[in-house]
Amino acid sequence: MSPRAAALHFDTVVIGAGTAGLTAATRLAEGGARVCVLAKGIGSTHLAPGTVDVLGYAPDRVEEPARALSELVAARPDHPYALMGVESVAPALQWFAGRIADGPQPGYRYVGDLERNHLLPTAVGVLRPSALVPETMAEGDMRTREPVCIVGTRSLRDFHASLCAANLETAGIAARAIEVELELDRADVNSLGLARRFDDPEFRAAFAAQLAPHLHGDERVGLPAVLGVRDPHGAWADLQRRLGRGIFEIGTLPPSVPGMRAFEALRTALRSAGGRLILGAEVIGAEREGGRISAVRAHAAGHDVRYHARWFVLATGGFASGAIALGSDWITRETVLGLPLRGAPAPGDPRFVGEYLAEQPMARVGVAVDGALRAEGAENVLVAGASLPGAVPWQEGSGEGIALSSGHRAAEVVLAEGAGVRAAV
């Protein structure tokens, strides 16, 4: 017995606790695999707006994602949707919607499909195409033209109702803004703090009473996405009833309350299925046996722990999370397992171009994979989410769609190979 040998065995170890990692792990646990998620910390859920944007721009705005996806994969066989197979998207969305509907927030659900994108306002009033959205946001679909009233509060400094309304006006939507004063116990509150208050029916009643006299005719009401953490459906339905009109949430700057709801639903599903999630367990190395990874080494207090598994799912993200890094030696690396990358500009070629929003040569870098999302050079490692090469999610409006679909697909690949068998000790 020696701390140097500290080790545990699982069927599959998932690295990363964002949408891709949690999806893969939960699906695997539901399929009967012994799963452990190792993560440096909490992932992208708390930062993204909580909608599932499958494909928003290709490069023009996408109205019918199913059709646009087919065209995209035909034109770009190196795109993540092409690698995982475009037929894997719909089942993943359906699976995710099911986990939310069965989740810890009663009545809270997602609506939408691949036939039509919603067109929801962002916090700054830009229209964003999104396939699957919380029901609490759906009324904000700007494909319908009813006038909107955007309601903000000065206590929430990251949401400016008048800016949002002004930009919607520019887009041709009749929009105006109201600011309400809220009785809060602190001057500066973030969206989560406010959302906790909206879980309280008395707070909602006072809020509705204050707002109601200022609303006009048939206008719908847009609020920052703070309508409850524990019971968002109840809070949303209650406000609709009290105000007698459609209410919709608008994604905020971090922390994202809808993202936290999704995280909680997935974590609950993972736990119910017997899966494990360990935070603060940064993976700092891997052990190889030929073309396979036999174990990863994760940081823990005092001594590292080795996690053996038959399969590993790498869902650590891309440049933003530090999972892929460009060194001062101009070499691009996958920092967790040291896997080969694809899409990095050749030595001597330009890596960046001057115009910030233009197509950047570095943008499509990701871990090199084959069609089944298997990493090149490590046959038992599957790659999911922003670690995949070939996409520019922030331009395409495809980040959550890729994360969810590839996480789900990676789990299906493992389950099809019979992951129920434990790793050899």
């Binding site: 701390p3 080790a7 910390g41 935070l279 207090a301």
Partner: protein
């Protein structure tokens, strides 16, 4: 590594902060009270205004409970809790330490004073008028959980106990809770280890210094933890020697917190002890993973609500107790989904913080009550005392249930 370099590593980690606010969503304290400004504001943001040799810029950092959840949640690896602990130490150095904090952070003094007069001391703890007096004089809240002295010391039992010689030695670090308040827990740990073929050594030992550290008394904490490290390290003779403890916050102190927060990265004894220390459930689960844990468990008909304490989560080893309890036939275990019980060692004892601690723990208490469980299992003693008091249910260490399932005596 020198103290300055380590401080730079902790402090340097603030440059990785991208202001994503994930720590703010996870902080159990700032989510219930405006008195603590939150881990991001108090940590990586305020740290930029903290200059060595200049007055402390802090006031609200004393309301951080030191649970460490912010550091566990941070996706960028910022040592938020550690930065805040150091800021609290500076604040205390400059603004003074209340008498209360000098007393309740010394479990050894309290234990040695209370043990010989346990009956009288326990009457004092149970006496409403004396507790009110204690609140007025010492600012220890009248309703805060206070453990009863066992009236005997675990180490006295251990000295007389002869562990069967198997050649497979393990060093047992029992901590102050076992020593003065729950000696029977220690006897159960020894019995379980012996049942699994270990020869248990119980060296002379004392407090790990965690209460001092979490109250910002760093100089005293350093002396205490280094003395413990010397005593334990003396018994580490070969590559396979390990140290095991059942006080999960004290083992975390030895594994990581003393080295990082108290800037003791360089101390060779502490480094050795840090690498060799195991939490008892961590050790037993690893044995099970190797197929070496005895699983001759009898059925235990009980319903359990399991809560993994923050300091246990700080080990970054998952929840080994849950896996172990799942091996016991008949036992119905529900995992609680709450962050913190609020007590955070001595935080919830303090009169000015008691209400915050109870508000932090409210989620957990409610889950325990609605779970239908008759018994709470939790790895940390101060959390057990807090949960037992708040939910009116017995709270035991997971090893208590394993001991019952093994059908061991003692």
């Amino acid at each position: 590594m020198s103290e300055g370099v380590l401080d730079e590593l902790l402090r340097g980690s603030l440059d990785h902060c991208v202001k994503c606010t994930i720590c703010e969503t996870a902080c159990p304290v700032s989510n219930v009270t405006p008195l603590f400004a939150g881990p991001k504001y108090t940590g990586p943001q305020a740290e930029r205004y903290r200059v060595a040799d200049e007055p402390s810029v802090d006031s609200s950092v004393d309301y951080c409970s030191g649970c460490g959840i912010c550091t566990q949640s941070c996706p960028q690896g910022v040592k938020i809790a550690e930065i805040n602990s150091q800021a609290r130490n500076k604040l205390k150095r400059q603004k003074g330490v209340p008498l209360r904090d000098r007393i309740i952070t010394r479990p050894t003094w309290l234990g040695r004073a209370g043990t010989p007069v346990a009956k009288l001391a326990n009457l004092t703890i149970d006496s409403r008028p004396l507790r009110i007096l204690g609140e007025k004089l010492l600012k220890v809240h009248r309703d805060a959980p206070a453990p009863e002295f066992a009236g005997r010391r675990f180490s006295r039992w251990a000295r007389k106990h002869e562990s069967p010689s198997t050649g497979r030695k393990v060093i047992y670090f029992h901590g102050c809770g076992t020593e003065y308040y729950e000696p029977e827990e220690g006897e159960k740990v020894v019995a379980i280890l012996e049942h699994n073929g270990f020869e248990v050594q119980v060296p002379k030992q004392d407090c790990c210094g965690l209460p001092l550290q979490s109250s910002g008394l760093f100089d005293d904490a350093r002396k205490v933890v280094l003395r413990l490290a010397r005593n334990l390290a003396k018994h580490v003779h070969d590559e396979d020697t390990i140290i095991v403890g059942n006080a999960t916050s004290c083992t975390l102190m030895l594994k990581r917190e003393a080295r990082e927060i108290l800037s003791l990265e360089d101390d060779p004894d502490l480094k050795l002890v840090s690498e060799r220390t195991y939490d008892i459930c961590e050790l037993l689960l690893e044995l099970h993973d190797r197929g070496e844990l005895k699983t001759d468990f009898q059925a235990v008909q009980d319903t359990i609500a399991y809560h993994a304490p923050c300091q246990q989560q700080g080990h970054s080893i998952g929840k080994p107790a849950l896996e172990l309890l799942a091996l016991i036939p008949g036992l119905q275990v529900t995992e609680m989904n709450a962050r913190c019980c609020g007590i955070a060692g001595t935080y919830g004892l303090k009169a000015e913080k008691y209400d915050i601690a109870m508000a932090v723990g409210a989620d957990l208490f409610e889950q325990v009550r609605t779970s239908g469980a008759a018994t709470v299992a939790c790895d940390s003693e101060t959390c057990r005392w807090q949960i037992a008091k708040a939910t009116d249910r017995p709270a035991v260490h997971p090893i208590d249930l394993l001991h019952r399932a093994y059908g061991l005596q003692g």
